[in-house]
């Protein structure tokens, strides 16, 4: 509470409008309790169609084999692994917002963390499909797990980056899910306790695990959230690092570089935030959440986008420089003959434009706070980031060491595209269900910051700002002097 004193009056309120605790509950539970709009049904329907197309594409791949795709012995990682890395990257923003920004005490994360975490989980679900089905014989996918088997037992190769991926992605998915759900429990209890229909009482009764809001439980909940945030922070950095090891530990020119881990992590955050923007800009409009996801939130995320976009830009230039500086003919050829020029040169320049040049426009405050511009940029960035992975994978592979196996121009088949479209279907189907049945904004967390950062409360803070620090301390710290004068020095 001592933070009130030092809350800058210049800083924008995180929650707009004169809201009470009850108003917050009403606003956020409204979408769960109201009938879904026509727009929701249309969106959900389209997502389902996409999903079904994806299921059929995957069905063909499973039944007829990888030959359904245009990948070949030279370009063996085509669209499939491009999509995998792209989705994993998108899945980074949620945990970054909820974990790293929690540790950095960034108050604005409370408005967007719940939806961003949900997005993370759905994105990782989509990402996981690609390597699994790329195995070809998906029915033996469990061979990757170290279990006592009848083949010896023969253990998986723990030295292989692909094996690290299995552990990294599954751990990331599990921990993100736990983090997200443990935060949801109190909010689901809020929905349960206001439920009028039988279905809602039962459904939220089960999903809220019998949460009461007991002080002791809250104390443990806080401790749990903090430690999970602490665990997720290195985890989120490790996941894309390990994904980049899939490339960096190989001996393919253009992949074999030490810059990959930080470069991939920055790119992941970059595309993840762009995806959060895409979803949040639509959600705040459709679900009437402008008071909770304010222009301030959008601007803050745009700042992260311009920062990480610039890091990515520096990484691209460093790669080019290092290729020249090394004077290794293979490296030089890949970068200067086949990447920035050559058959796929267009994709390189598309990537450069979308990822490096266009985010620089966010240096202008006017554009950072422009909703339409932000929305367009968020899509541009994700197109750029998709092409980044495409460029890395395809341009490095299509001219390998042996000219006789150089590949012809690579075009995906309809089923390869269908698989990608299908993951969009999966992603948005999940997101639509989430937006309808779960609180999209962390109710309890918003209430927690309401009195220090809500618009109506900040207005009353002028006298507090002038107050003497000692006097203020004594008036606001009820918790610090109890039981025979023992002062617990614990400020939150």
């Amino acid at each position: 509470m001592s933070l009130i004193k030092y809350e800058s009056p210049i800083r924008e309120p995180l929650v707009d409008g004169k809201k009470t605790y009850h108003d917050v509950t009403e606003d956020i539970c409204h979408t769960i309790e109201a009938k879904p709009s026509r727009l929701w049904y249309i969106g959900f329907g389209i997502s389902l169609v996409f999903l079904l197309f994806g299921v059929y594409s995957v069905y063909r791949e499973v039944v007829y084999g990888i030959g359904q795709w245009n990948v070949n012995r030279t370009i063996n990682w085509g669209w499939d692994i491009t999509n995998f890395v792209w989705w994993v990257g998108i899945g980074h923003a949620g945990t970054l917002i909820s974990a790293i920004l929690l540790l950095f005490r960034q108050g604005w994360r409370t408005g967007v963390n719940r939806a961003a975490e949900a997005m993370t989980i759905f994105a990782v679900m989509c990402a996981g499909q690609f390597p699994i089905f790329h195995m070809g014989r998906v029915w033996v996918a469990f061979f990757t797990l170290p279990y006592p088997n009848t083949r010896g037992p023969l253990w998986p190769n723990y030295n292989s980056p692909l094996m690290w991926d299995v552990f990294a992605i599954s751990t990331y998915f599990t921990v993100s899910l736990l983090f997200w759900y443990s935060g949801l429990i109190p909010d689901l209890a809020t929905v349960r306790d206001r439920a009028k229909t039988k279905f809602r009482k039962h459904f939220y009764g089960i999903t809220s695990f019998g949460w009461t809001g007991s002080t002791k439980h809250w104390q443990r909940h806080e401790s749990l959230s903090l430690v999970l945030a602490g665990l997720s922070t290195p985890l989120v950095l490790s996941v894309h690092t390990i994904v980049s090891f899939d490339f960096a530990t190989s001996v393919i020119p253009g992949w074999h570089t030490t810059i990959f881990p930080p470069y991939f992590v920055a790119g992941a955050i970059f595309s993840g935030f762009a995806m959060v923007q895409t979803l949040m800009l639509v959600a705040r409009k459709v679900m009437n959440l402008q008071d909770y996801i304010t222009l301030g939130h959008i601007e803050a995320m745009n700042k992260v986008i311009v920062l990480t976009g610039s890091i990515v830009g520096v990484a691209y230039l460093t790669e080019l420089f290092m290729a020249w500086y090394s004077q290794v003919p293979y490296e030089m050829d890949i970068f200067f003959k086949y990447r920035i020029a050559g058959a796929y040169g267009w994709s390189y320049w598309l990537m450069m434009t979308c990822n490096v040049i266009s985010p620089q426009l966010f240096w202008f405050k006017k554009l950072r706070r422009n909703i339409l511009f932000t929305f367009i940029m968020s899509i541009v960035v994700n197109i750029g980031m998709w092409f980044e992975r495409f460029v890395i994978i395809v341009t490095s592979l299509y001219r390998d060491y042996l000219p006789s196996s150089w590949s012809v121009y690579y075009r995906p088949t309809i089923w390869e595209v269908g698989f990608y479209v299908g993951t969009f279907g999966l992603f948005f189907t999940c997101f639509f269900l989430f937006a309808k049945y779960f609180p999209v904004i962390a109710i309890a967390e918003i209430k927690h910051v309401l009195k220090t950062t809500g618009e109506s409360y900040k207005a009353d803070m002028a006298p507090l700002e002038k107050m003497d620090v000692d006097k203020f301390y004594h008036e606001t710290h009820h918790d610090d002097h109890h039981e025979g004068g023992t002062v617990t020095v614990k400020h939150h």
């Binding site: 736990l178 430690v227 209430k447």
Partner: protein, 195 residues
């Protein structure tokens, strides 16, 4: 698990709640619990609750993960079936760091969440008595347990004077049971204990 008698006072402002807590404690009443819609910082100290040691559990689970990963990989790659992978050493500790790290995080997180659910007695299908439905919305609900010596009316008046908006007495089960929230459930009253 037993059915007990409680005096329930609901507050609508944490600024009133904090002085009320210290008044109630000074008067010697036993606070059963305070139910709040969000974590109110400092309330646990005001109530005299001890710090949680959940994070210690997390640390131990994490160490378990580290040990499991390192020892299992060592055993399977050097003892059980050493495979020659490009002539590299069988005991390749640096290459095992990623998996060791991931397993540490995984076990710490899963272990902590399970411990949390166990300690707070949370699970799907569990039902508990809720003293006030708005405790998850906008009220801070203080529940005082009645003992044999407690004068109910006195406690009620005391709470009202301390600033409670709504005061009542409830006889309720203080543990959990398996149940559904869309159905009323009659609990046995025979073993009512006024301890």
């Amino acid at each position: 698990m037993a059915v007990k008698k409680f005096v329930v006072g609901s507050f609508d402002d944490e600024k009133v709640l904090f002085p009320a807590v210290s008044k109630v404690r000074k008067a010697g009443y036993k606070i059963h619990d305070i139910y709040t819609p969000f974590p109110v910082h400092g309330l646990d100290h005001a109530m005299g609750l001890r710090e949680t040691s959940l994070h210690t559990a997390g640390f131990i689970f994490g160490l378990t993960g580290t040990t499991t990963a390192v020892s299992f990989m060592t055993w399977s790659f050097t003892k059980d079936w050493p495979v020659n992978i490009g002539g590299k050493p069988n005991f390749a500790l640096p290459a095992w760091i990623p998996i060791t790290f991931e397993l540490t995080i995984l076990m710490a997180a899963v272990g902590m969440v399970l411990t949390f659910c166990y300690l707070c007695q949370l699970a799907p299908g569990i039902k508990k008595h809720h003293f006030h439905l708005r405790a998850t919305d906008d009220l801070f609900v203080m529940v005082i347990e009645c003992t044999a010596k407690t004068n109910e009316e006195e406690v009620k008046n005391f709470l009202a004077k301390a600033g409670a908006q709504e005061v009542n007495t409830q006889v309720a089960e203080d543990g959990w049971w398996i149940g559904r929230y869309d159905r009323e459930q009659k609990l046995y009253k025979e073993d009512q204990v006024i301890a």
